[in-house]
């Protein structure tokens, strides 16, 4: 199932399907390891406009909500 990072719930895993948004944003995301096909796990979601925290390459990354909404994830069923 395809969802954005904001739509995922904490603990859910998946692969990055597509990065929407302009070149600048994509570049910033690539630098931190957000490439299509990369596995991610959502760690936490600080609601009320706070950032989303995901695990990429065994590092935690905090992403603002606006950006997180532009990252499409192909989620996997939990084993």
């Amino acid at each position: 199932m395809k969802k954005t990072l904001t739509q995922m719930h904490a603990g859910e895993e998946g692969r990055i399907d597509f990065l929407h948004g302009g070149r600048g944003l994509r570049n910033r995301l690539y630098k931190l390891g957000f490439v299509e096909g990369q596995r991610v796990r959502k760690v936490s979601d600080l609601s009320w406009g706070g950032p989303v925290i995901v695990m990429v390459n065994r590092s935690q990354v905090a992403i603002g909500r606006g950006m997180a909404g532009k990252i499409m994830i192909e989620t996997e069923k939990k084993r």
Partner: protein, 621 residues
């Protein structure tokens, strides 16, 4: 627009290149013996550091490049690094052994620069702890450069790294350029990225590079399945929406309590906390001054005849026939007492606690929790780090605004700091003086400053033009702080207080003393009387400390003592002093960081805010 890095005329023998927070600075101080501020979050090295290393009787220039994720010209850090690489003879590429896949993209770009390079896997102890094993030899074979695992903090592997480094051939002429240290295997992927415009093709290249890296990593790295360590569990728990917020509140509360406790303890040696002074010794800075220095100064005072120009200069005025360290205002009395007995203890305790939070890696997590609040004042959560640093001293705080991405964020953060964030020196005096009148007046002072910070932030959010970026940060793993790093950082921060603030404090006391003796302040007081008395409700003499505040705020605060202010006047005075004109050092840094135009804007905002806040406080209390 790109600013050209000041051209480096002499060559760099060894250049350290790596992503933020991989421990380049630790390695740098290990090589050169030069201490730089090291923290567990990205972007501590905003400019580059240069030092000398001695090896086999020869001096080598070592430069620590700013941490950068890429050599593509996306930000200042990468520009600077590209320029530095141009001038470097040998490169040490430092990567985090526990996050190899994240660091290799930069490595690929560095290797494409065709310079003699070695790859250093730092923090290999942490990798071991997290169950990660890397086959260095295999990796070396794949990349075509030597790969050395080290632990920069303890020095493990550093000797081997240096000797390997010196086996590399340095290019003498252009023709030898491609003989050594270039990536042998995939030249088509790693073309020189230098000064190349980024177009949409590069993202295809990048996907290929990431794929390639994925293959390399899965080849050389084995992950042992291990139970989540305590650190890893805490890493998740402390960003949990509910538990994390609770944790943040507890950490903040404990930090401030601890700062106060340690500070008080250093000043009074436990009097007021435990009740009795610790043992019967004159422990605590205040007691040291009273018991050891005062008898000596009394002698001096008698020798000088208890009055006259020299007496006033050195000892100051006697209060009821006695030396009073906070009121006498001589160079040897207040000039030494304010910085050493009243301010230094709080500075020590503040920086101790802050450095601990920094090194454990908690600050970026705090930034994450502050993010949604900070957005309401036009900033994102990371701006909390320079702001917290400023509670110690505004100067390094404003310098740390460089970790923020945009000019607009830097402007808002620096302006708010210079107006509404009191430094530890000033706070030590405010707590001593206003706290003496009770908890409520103290709460009003701090509450007003906080309110100004928030309201001004909200206003600036709408007024300041520019792009509003969102938070995108890597959160570092928790690390056990290293005592040596911690203490050396504390020492460096205190040293800069001694070097920069101490002479200014004593100089200020001297200048104030002389101006008093020639009664120049009376003129000043008469000129500004309407504002000070009518709008702020203070006696006209209070203008003198306010002007002295331009030099040093802690000294200025001490000058309120003889004025016998009412509690209300003291509260207004403290707030106005805290907001009015940042001290000289902060002012210089503010202009240096923001530029003249933005600096003037910031100053204008300051005058307007202090006028409004002072008057409003006077009218409502």
């Amino acid at each position: 627009m790109r600013k050209k890095t000041s051209r480096i005329d002499n060559k760099i023998d060894i250049l350290l290149v790596g992503q933020p927070n991989v421990g380049k600075s630790v390695l740098f101080s290990r090589l050169t013996g030069i201490k730089t501020v090291v923290s567990n979050y990205s972007g501590t090295t905003v400019a580059f550091a240069r030092g000398k290393m001695r090896w086999n009787g020869t001096d080598f220039t070592v430069v620590d490049a700013p941490g950068t994720y890429s050599l593509e010209p996306l930000d200042d850090a990468s520009w600077v690094t590209v320029d530095l690489i141009d001038d470097a003879r040998r490169i040490i590429n430092v990567v985090d052994a526990s996050h190899l896949e994240r660091h290799l993209p930069l490595t690929m770009e560095v290797l494409a620069q065709n310079k003699p390079t070695i790859l250093v896997l730092n923090m290999s102890d942490e990798a071991r702890y997290r169950g990660i094993t890397i086959d260095a030899e295999k990796l070396s074979h794949k990349l075509g450069v030597p790969v050395i695992p080290i632990v920069a903090r303890s020095g493990e592997g550093v000797k081997k790294m240096i000797s390997t480094l010196f086996t590399l051939q340095i290019q003498k002429g252009e023709e030898e350029k491609d003989e050594r240290g270039h990536p042998g295997h995939h030249p088509h992927l790693f073309r020189k990225t230098k000064r190349k415009h980024i177009d949409d093709h590069s993202h295809l290249d990048r996907r290929k590079i990431w794929e390639e890296i994925g293959n390399i990593v899965s080849d050389v790295q084995t992950l042992k399945h291990h139970h989540k360590s305590f650190a890893e569990r805490m890493e998740e728990l402390t960003v949990h929406p509910l538990w994390g917020s609770l944790f943040a509140l507890i950490v903040l509360f404990l930090s401030f309590s601890l700062i106060r406790l340690i500070g008080e303890f250093l000043i009074s040696g436990g009097v007021g906390i435990i009740g009795e002074p610790w043992m019967e010794l004159p422990f605590g800075t205040e007691l040291l001054f009273e018991n050891l220095l005062k008898p000596l100064l009394k002698e001096l005072s008698l020798v000088l005849g208890e009055k006259g120009f020299l007496h006033r200069l050195l000892i100051g005025t006697l209060i009821e026939g006695e030396i009073d360290f906070s009121q006498s205002f001589g160079i040897l009395t207040s000039g030494l007492f304010i910085p050493l007995a009243a301010v230094l203890p709080y500075l020590v305790s503040f920086y101790l606690v802050l450095s601990l939070l920094e090194d454990v890696g908690y600050l970026p997590r705090l930034a994450v929790f502050m993010d949604s609040l900070m957005h309401r004042i036009g900033l994102h959560g990371y701006a909390i780090i320079p702001t917290l640093l400023s509670l110690g001293c505004n100067v390094p705080g404003i310098m740390a605004t460089r970790i923020l991405e945009t000019k607009r964020q830097r402007f808002i953060t620096a302006t708010l700091i210079s107006i509404a964030v009191p430094c530890a020196a000033l706070q030590a005096m405010i707590v001593a003086l206003v706290g003496d009148r009770g908890a409520l007046p103290l709460a009003i002072v701090y509450g007003t400053l906080l309110l100004v910070w928030i309201v001004l932030g909200i206003i600036l959010r709408f007024v300041a033009k520019g792009f509003k970026p969102e938070l995108l940060i890597e959160i570092p793993p928790y690390r056990l702080p290293d005592l040596n790093t911690l203490l050396s950082k504390l020492w460096m921060r205190l040293l800069s207080f001694f070097k920069e603030a101490l002479p200014i404090i004593i100089g200020t006391v001297l200048v104030v003393n002389i101006l008093y003796q020639f009664q120049l302040f009376d003129l000043l007081a008469r000129l500004t009387e309407p504002l000070v008395t009518r709008m702020w409700g203070m006696p006209k003499e209070a203008i003198v400390p306010l002007f002295v505040g331009i030099l040093r705020k802690d000294v200025a605060m001490g000058m309120f003592i003889p004025l016998q202010l009412t509690t209300k006047q003291l509260v207004v005075a403290s707030v106005v002093l805290a907001m009015f004109f940042p001290c000289l050092a902060t002012f210089v840094i503010l202009f240096r960081e923001l530029g003249i135009k933005e600096g003037l804007k910031s100053t204008g905002i300051m005058f307007l805010t202090v006028f409004i806040a002072g008057s409003a406080l006077n009218l409502t209390l």
